[in-house]
């Protein structure tokens, strides 16, 4: 067998501006492709991405050269395999279960959503992305994690800086300088709050991890909270903005979603259509093959769930937003051992609380100029503005 073909035309700028036409072409012509600009072998078919994610014995999450390490000042669970990953994940996932979200936290989230939605002005153009999607995601997450003392601006800034650092494959020193500064701020806050979260257990992630019978080391507690900050703000923010855009540009579907109260289906379709986390990396631990091509030990493959979610073999008309598909087995939350630990939280907060509330309070919300919405991102993707008129 041969190595996958090498592409030297595709640029990161193209992928960031609009990767979907490229992915559609790759699915048809070259679903296993070494893309020089990424330094990775891109996998764009659903069967391939799923197979890789579900085979951690062969495709490791550990990347010895990941910029995540300096960005988080830690070797985080995202880049661990097997038992090491499992122990760390289990420590935090207890705070993220549907039960916890429903019974302990549900009313609080309702109240926060109510508060943030209520302060939006009626009858004028509002950038929903910056005025609601980001701040509300930040506030809810701060409570889930047990750091409500951090304000919305801090949470959003930390999240962005951590993400930028984790994606700093060009090793630009200024990005690590920014993540260092953010880590200092976070470490200081976590240190200040430790005693209180220990003394007054409240079901938040920090408190649960501190008060566990067999707690993980403090450094891992910190890095788990940081991973959740990096992975728990931009994603629900982008999901919410994407779904609102999808519904406002498809009024017939919005009417049907209202009639059926199918907000959960709208949520699933939004994250299928534009997955907030578009790609993941895995390193081959042995020589192997994928889709008829050799993958060498040590090579890094990139599973493109953004593309898998539009794969023609699974979806009819996958390029378009359509809430009422028969089946929607999307990979937006990933597969395998690293399946998103925040999936339940996202589904319940965005899908069951925020979306219905927003459309209930502003039944005539409109998007006067869909063309004005700018979409951006290769690793993480969503609209970066959403100018709506609230009525």
């Amino acid at each position: 067998m041969a190595l996958a073909p090498l592409d030297e035309e595709i640029t990161l700028d193209q992928l960031s501006a609009d990767p979907y036409p490229i992915y559609r072409r790759l699915r048809a012509e070259s679903p296993v492709l070494r893309v020089a600009a990424t330094g990775r072998t891109l996998l764009t078919k659903a069967a391939l991405t799923k197979a890789v994610k579900e085979n951690p014995e062969l495709f490791s999450s550990d990347d010895p050269h990941t910029p995540m390490k300096p960005a988080f000042r830690a070797h985080t669970l995202m880049r661990k395999d097997g038992e090491d990953h499992f122990v760390e994940r289990k420590a935090i996932s207890k705070a993220l279960t549907p039960k916890m979200i429903k019974s302990d936290w549900g009313p609080l989230y309702e109240q926060m959503a109510e508060e943030y939605v209520s302060r939006l002005p009626r009858g004028e153009t509002v950038d929903l992305f910056s005025e609601l999607c980001g701040p509300l995601a930040a506030r809810i997450l701060a409570h889930i994690l047990g750091i409500p003392e951090a304000n919305d601006e801090q949470m959003q800034r930390w999240s962005q800086v951590l993400i930028d650092g984790a994606g700093n494959f060009g090793w630009k020193p200024e990005l690590f300088a920014a993540s260092d500064a953010a880590n200092d701020e976070m470490d200081a806050l976590f240190g200040e709050l430790e005693h209180k979260r220990r003394a007054e257990p409240d079901g938040s992630a920090y408190s649960v991890m501190l008060n566990a019978d067999d707690p993980i080391p403090m450094s891992q507690i910190y890095s788990n909270i940081k991973i959740a900050i990096g992975g728990g703000i931009n994603e629900p923010r982008d999901a919410l903005a994407t779904i609102v855009y999808g519904l406002l540009t498809n009024p017939d579907q919005l009417a049907e979603v209202r009639a059926q109260e199918a907000w959960d289906r709208a949520f699933e379709e939004g994250i299928r259509w534009v997955a907030p986390i578009q790609v993941s990396s895995r390193r081959a631990l042995e020589d192997t093959e994928l889709g008829g091509y050799d993958i060498r030990k040590g090579d890094t493959v990139m599973t493109v769930q953004a593309s898998a979610n539009r794969d023609e073999e699974i979806y009819e008309d996958g390029e378009n937003f359509f809430v009422f598909r028969d089946k929607n087995p999307h990979q937006a939350f990933g597969n395998g051992p690293h399946h998103c630990a925040g999936a339940h939280v996202a589904r319940r907060t965005v899908g069951k609380i925020i979306l219905p509330m927003l459309f209930d309070r502003f039944p005539n919300m409109s998007l006067p100029d869909p063309q004005a919405v700018i979409w951006k991102g290769f690793g993480f993707r969503g609209p970066i503005n959403l100018p709506v008129i609230l009525n």
């Binding site: 799923k50 994610k53 579900e54 951690p56 499992f86 994940r89 289990k90 996932s93 207890k94 993220l96 279960t97 549907p98 039960k99 959960d264 089946k327 087995p329 939350f333 990933g334 597969n335 395998g336 051992p337 690293h338 399946h339 630990a341 999936a343 339940h344 589904r347």
Partner: protein
């Protein structure tokens, strides 16, 4: 081939034939059965393949592991003594005819 019957909340039953060695979750997902999601693909990380083993089959399907017990805490629907993660039940000839009941919700 081993037969598994999945009983939905409304009482409707679907019987699927699966190969020995596959899990109850895989058998459902590969046959597009509604009611079992199995989003993480069987890594015991998502609790979206929750099922209730029929009383008659409880002993033969065996006990839950500690990790499974812990993951079940994350199930969306009510967890009972007969709750299992269907990705953790491997089919063998002794389970031919197994009956499991599906929960109200998985997500």
């Amino acid at each position: 081939m081993i037969k598994v019957t999945y009983v939905a909340q409304d009482g409707s039953a679907t019987t699927i034939e699966a190969e020995e060695g596959t899990s109850v979750m895989q058998a459902a997902v590969s046959n597009d059965l509604d009611g079992i999601v199995g989003e993480c693909g069987g890594s015991m990380m998502c609790a979206t393949c929750h099922c209730y083993v029929d009383e008659a089959w409880e002993e033969r399907t065996g006990a839950r592991s500690a990790d499974e017990e812990e993951m079940l805490e994350g199930a969306a629907a009510e967890v009972t003594g007969r709750s299992r993660l269907s990705c953790q039940i491997r089919l063998d000839p002794s389970l031919d005819g197994l009956v499991v009941h599906l929960p109200e919700e998985q997500l």
